[in-house]
């Protein structure tokens, strides 16, 4: 078997790793040999994630982290790098929804609460930027690294079911990927994004699980006519984190059952 996708001895730091896509990406890395640091603001989720890792025999450490606190991000990333002696992969995945879609009155532009807007910007935009800052500070002197940002197809195109705070912050990180890829390439650092479509995650407080008819409608709206399981993100993250993606940088890749077909 080839070593294209092997991560043996690599170290990874994943934000939002307590559940959903972040957990799946971290697990995928571990299954391919990486030593993973799981970061999440949700202590209970983090404990559950760590228990699953331990049960599967994967090496991991966990750190409670609110990405609205840049100093805490820097400390957590530095600790992970010090603990393992290097940091090969950083995933800026932590994100939240916020704000109703423009098709609902609560989502009209004049009705968006600025506190909601600011909070989403803090997590989805500033939190991602600060995570990349911390990653770059470690990876530049290493002269190697892989950075993956969780964007969204909402950041690539808008629709009536988009809400302002989420859509606009996800669009911002798409451009962040492009720009950081340019700056960091001379340091042999790859910067890419994943743009998920409909995945069954706990986003919006688990709404997709509470409202199965909503989930079904979202799945039916894409060419593959289904929602994705979070584990289906593993392969794409692995491509971008491993030797298999040696010449890919500056890309934001949709994984959406064909929703964007772009």
């Amino acid at each position: 078997m080839s070593k294209l996708f092997d991560l043996t001895g690599k170290t990874a730091f994943v934000t939002g790793a307590g559940s959903g896509l972040g957990y799946a990406m971290a697990e995928g890395f571990a299954e391919h040999g990486a030593l993973v640091t799981l970061a999440d603001a949700d202590r209970a989720g983090l404990d559950r994630a760590l228990a699953k890792f331990n049960a599967a025999g994967h090496q991991a450490t966990a750190v409670e982290l609110d990405v609205r606190e840049p100093a805490a991000i820097r400390a957590a990333v530095n600790n992970a790098a010090n603990h393992y002696g290097k940091l090969d992969i950083v995933v800026a995945n932590a994100g939240i929804t916020g704000g109703a879609p423009i098709s609902e009155e609560a989502g009209y532009i004049e009705n968006i609460d600025l506190d909601v807007w600011n909070n989403v910007v803090k997590v989805n935009q500033t939190g991602v930027f600060a995570t990349l800052q911390a990653a770059a500070a470690i990876m530049k002197p290493q002269r190697s690294g892989r950075i993956i940002v969780t964007a969204s197809i909402s950041g690539l195109r808008t629709s009536e079911v988009s809400g302002y705070p989420y859509t606009v912050t996800k669009a911002a990180v798409v451009h962040l990927v492009h720009l950081a890829a340019l700056e960091l390439a001379p340091f042999n650092i790859h910067v890419n994004g994943v743009a998920p479509g409909p995945f069954m995650t706990n986003i919006a407080g688990g709404r997709l699980f509470r409202e199965p008819e909503r989930a079904k409608a979202m799945g039916d709206a894409v060419p593959m006519k289904r929602m994705a399981d979070p584990s289906e993100i593993k392969g794409l993250a692995l491509l971008l984190a491993s030797g298999a993606g040696s010449f890919i940088t500056g890309q934001v890749i949709p994984i959406d059952g064909g929703a964007t077909a772009r």
Partner: protein, 252 residues
């Protein structure tokens, strides 16, 4: 176990260059590779077998409906199924750079016949097989030049633009059948054909290199990871996409 263990994969244009690299890479992941080409693909097959891989050569001219149908029938006869088709065969490396108004009609048509009609015909031939299976992976090879409006090889760039569009359309049509259709858009890749043609590997290639975030030459091996990913179950929720693998030259 490889990532493509026992999968039956057809690779067109597999005799040399990127297609040969693709053939060897999927074989290394456990696939049964059908190396297909208008050229003799025995060399690729021998290399795969020498590395304990499984491969066979089946000749095919992708611009011919008869030939693509024969290819599909032959593979189904031998293996009973087709898990992935890589539409890689294309006219590129032998082209000379010229202004678009100097391209003669015959050369334009030849490029379109192989680069556009070819993937259309082979995808059309294999679709019923994959629909019966309720599974399949189609991987088309586009080009980063589409997003740059690269001059000098306008027929080629236009043909690859058609492949990006074709990929999107067919993905939408075949999604219901659990068939994934995606494309890879490489940058200028130093295959033996490109190296042999100074019009391709000369001054223009260093300009291409300098347009990249990673300022180095692109090798066929830089594409194999993405190809394996798109042929494997790892990409089951991805369809209609064109993945740019070009060292960060195009960010679209």
């Amino acid at each position: 176990m490889g990532r493509l263990q026992d999968k039956v994969v057809i690779i067109t244009g597999g005799a040399r260059g990127i297609g040969a690299a693709f053939s060897k890479a999927v074989a290394a992941e456990g696939a049964i590779v059908i190396v297909s080409d208008v050229r003799d693909g025995a060399g690729t097959v021998q290399e795969i077998e020498a590395a304990q891989g499984r491969a066979a050569f089946v000749a095919c001219d992708v611009s011919s409906a008869q030939s693509t149908t024969d290819l599909v029938n032959e593979v189904v006869k031998r293996h009973g199924r087709i898990d992935a088709v890589v539409n890689n065969a294309a006219i590129f490396a032998n082209l000379k750079r010229q202004a678009f108004f100097d391209i003669d009609e015959k050369e334009w048509d030849d490029v379109m016949a192989v680069n556009v009609r070819g993937p259309f015909l082979l995808t059309k031939a294999v679709a019923p097989v994959m629909m019966r299976q309720k599974s399949g992976k189609i991987v088309n090879i586009a080009s980063g030049t589409v997003f740059k409006g690269q001059t000098g090889i306008t027929h080629y760039v236009a043909s690859k633009g058609a492949i990006v569009a074709f990929t999107r359309c067919v993905a939408r049509e075949l999604g219901d059948h659990n068939i994934n259709v995606n494309a890879i858009a490489p940058g200028l890749t130093m295959s033996e054909g490109v190296i042999a043609n100074p019009d391709m590997s000369g001054g223009g290639s260093s300009a291409t290199m300098n347009s990249r975030a990673f300022k180095r030459e692109q090798k066929p091996q830089d594409l194999t990871g993405t190809l394996v990913f798109l042929c494997s179950s790892d990409s089951d929720f991805m369809t209609g996409q064109t993945l740019v693998v070009d060292g960060g030259s195009v960010t679209h």
